[in-house]
Subunit: 574 residues, 2 copies
Amino acid sequence: MLRMSTLFLRTLREDPADAEVPSHRLLVRAGYVRRVAPGIYSWLPLGVRVLDRVAQVVREEMDAMGAQEVSFPALIPREPYEVTGRWTEYGDGLFRLKDRKGGDYLLGPTHEELFTLLVKGEYSSYKDLPVWLYQVQTKYRDEARPRAGVLRGREFLMKDSYSFDVDDEGLERSYQAHRAAYVRIFDRLGLDVRIVQATSGAMGGSASEEFLAVAETGEDTFVSTPDGYAANVEKVQLRGPAEGDPAAHPPAEVLDTPDTPTIATLVAHFRGLGMDVGPEHTLKNVVLTLTQPDGSTSTLVVGVPGDREVDLKRLEAQVAPATVAPAEVEQVPGLVKGYIGPQEGFPAGLRYVVDELVVRGSAWITGANAPGRHARYVVCGRDFEPAGTVGAVEVREGDLCTGGEGPISLERGIEMGHVFQLGRKYADAFGLDVLGREGKPVRVTMGSYGIGISRAVAAIAEQSHDDKGLVWPRGVAPADVHVLAVGKGDEQKVVALRLSEELEARGLRVLLDDRGGSPGVAFKDYELLGIPTGLVCGKSLADGLVELRDRRSGSSRTLAVEEAVDAVVAEVRG
Amino acid sequence: MLRMSTLFLRTLREDPADAEVPSHRLLVRAGYVRRVAPGIYSWLPLGVRVLDRVAQVVREEMDAMGAQEVSFPALIPREPYEVTGRWTEYGDGLFRLKDRKGGDYLLGPTHEELFTLLVKGEYSSYKDLPVWLYQVQTKYRDEARPRAGVLRGREFLMKDSYSFDVDDEGLERSYQAHRAAYVRIFDRLGLDVRIVQATSGAMGGSASEEFLAVAETGEDTFVSTPDGYAANVEKVQLRGPAEGDPAAHPPAEVLDTPDTPTIATLVAHFRGLGMDVGPEHTLKNVVLTLTQPDGSTSTLVVGVPGDREVDLKRLEAQVAPATVAPAEVEQVPGLVKGYIGPQEGFPAGLRYVVDELVVRGSAWITGANAPGRHARYVVCGRDFEPAGTVGAVEVREGDLCTGGEGPISLERGIEMGHVFQLGRKYADAFGLDVLGREGKPVRVTMGSYGIGISRAVAAIAEQSHDDKGLVWPRGVAPADVHVLAVGKGDEQKVVALRLSEELEARGLRVLLDDRGGSPGVAFKDYELLGIPTGLVCGKSLADGLVELRDRRSGSSRTLAVEEAVDAVVAEVRG
């Protein structure tokens, strides 16, 4: 039994100064977590309980699907990550350190390398496969912008698992088994998640889906279409207008457009001449610098419709592990700032690509590569040939995409889980073969599957709270029932303790407020802490009555004391 | 149910090349752990189970005593450790790293600083105390000599707890409560431990005891006397001969002793002159360099009886956080190598101390600070005055000590737990005060208590194995019963599976060997893995019989199949 009189807990009436989102605010105010450094938190007793419950649900479902728990170190020598290139590719996101002998180590962000090596060390035959291994472990990523408390930490608890199969069909089965387990896990955690198609980031590999907890404060944007398609905004491919015949347009024509270095001034120029030109008729050529993990850089120019902005995060997902930043146009020889066009006059050897919305046969107003001059009827596929197509623009509500039918809706979510078909990237790196059915070595194919456990605590809080405090789903609440002794007399305390003991004897986990302070404080803490069921022993005890409260609905009913235990058990057991 | 046919496990017939001690050899051979780097290990499924069982026992006893579980980060900013000086004092033993912004961080070796800050942040009144907080957490120490597998790792799992009290009596109660809980914990883990008085090392503080698991392969030596006194060899104070009257000896006399730079040559010289001189009559002056954590060094000369060696580890415990190493005598001005004496001619300003065995009034043969010359009747307290007394010599069987009566016995052990009365060192560093009973601020006093959880797995294996394999105590075994289906027919497998299911239905944890390979392999693995009870479904099944084996005693009995489940349950439940 947890007793508030001795529980290591101080609730706060004020929001912490650095809290941007409700879950962060409430987890700190309700005494679940405390900040130690940016993105680094301590868990207090109630927080430890919720964290353990989430981990327990994950373990049960992983065990039930037949995965086996192992435990790897977080402190890892450099060599395996050097073999796969991730020592470098992870860039600043990796915590690196040296030991007393000068050896290079890292704090593990994910463990593909070590799992691959482990299986290589132990297994040697197709008969050993498939095997699914998982761990629940503290992981480290030096996030550029840790935020929102434990929602995006630099030290965090994660379940990561890995599947090993002899062939693609096996990988698909392993992937689907994990996907199904994840559906069960998030259901048990009371999280409203959407499964969206995703890119695979620094993990490598092909097929991949994310489980996003729907939340306005989420960092990830995902699209969905009315027919049920859903994808991470980094993954979605927009559908541009139909391609046309490049020869169907008038020839390109260069115009004097003095003082029009921006889309806005350019459109104003044409409108001043009485022409019906909007930003969507212009082609904006955005100059970017790509930086590879080894520090080498190159320039990339991307053509997008003039009414669109470039989404660097979305673009970055397509050029990973390189990073992308706006370039200093003045530093790029041959480019005329404000008057860039991909056609004649564009510097030879400079890489030019277009967004998916810029299709073959489309005609544009764009820069003429000379100060104060633009061109019109500049046609893609006639006047310029892009070196490739990328998804570069910020996706908008109502856009069309290739994955689903109908206009796109945009929502935000928190990445809670990720399932990947890694394929043979890591098996190739380490030469992970097993003897196949035909007696020849077969290269193993792998999947990688993660769930953010500490993040889940925040995501649940984000989805499940009100203006008074937290409202835990039963499956993860730090206690089943919050018993309150309110009032001046001893009787309330005596009865509250007796009922708490009886509830514990029935197998319930009880938080007892036995502090005997002001009823106002007790009720405020009850609302803040978010235990799903409250049992109030107050003034009406004189009439043999207690009050049963439901934290989520706020509803309450009065009961005879002798009915209370059965009623609470029924409530909790559902 | 764990089935060997799918369990991620490969047992090894050969000892690993790097294994020095039985626990390391067996935990690797039986597939419980695998090495990743020096002192850094992965835990495989059976290992995870034992580790969890140990952690669970520790948690249960900590909860039962009223301690509350919290969880701190392992990645910690430098500042709090700078305040206490441990950032520097820990020397090379601390893993240090920088984040992407250049901020200094460390991987926590113990968490006194953060716990102190947490309590300071939350609590403010004597009414809040005592409070006992603990965590079960991965810790990091960059050991100079990681060894023996998980016995002395660089990444390891530890339970650390901290007590906070308003006064010394409270601290004593908190200390005794932890001590009692530790006795229960080690009893439940099946570990044979001795509680010995200890020094407190880099933790600071005063009263401190260690729980040592008795093992020949242990790194710690402890002494005990017939009356029950026990102490770490670093802590024990030897009892020298009685002090005498310094004036009772003849005056000091310098002698020509050519070519006698060592104790052996010196003794031979005197014996050659027909004198009854032994090494114990000589005073050996050992020149040492003390290095402080900040890198500054100083010279220390220690006088010990000539028949004794200096125990650097024991000496180091008394000068911590400084470290000690033999000095280059030639580099110290004024010292004549091989002919050093603490009396006349000893360099002024050089620090000279004596071992506990060199008492006031004792007379010695020692160097005369001139090449080829020694002096006799050099009397402590007359011809020289030591600046202090230290425990410097290697302790021997039969020595006398100040803590207990009778001759010392020496044994070796593995440090499993440590209880400290820290006192106010950390509260002083961070200004941790609470409002006292009289309305004035009171400085809090603390205790610090640790148990090595991953180390316990190795220590248990070290104490509990035979030449065939591991022999787990019931409380920590990865399964309660190991069911073996041996033989060619299907019947053994069918019956073994049925019995396993029935045993599971009775609440037992079952490991089923359903591989159907050679009986020899199955029996060898049964012995190696060390599950306490075996149930063999073999040839005699044709007669309706199974065999119940006790792994520890090696005894077995034959049973009717229908009696097997009850018999196993009775065996396991004791």
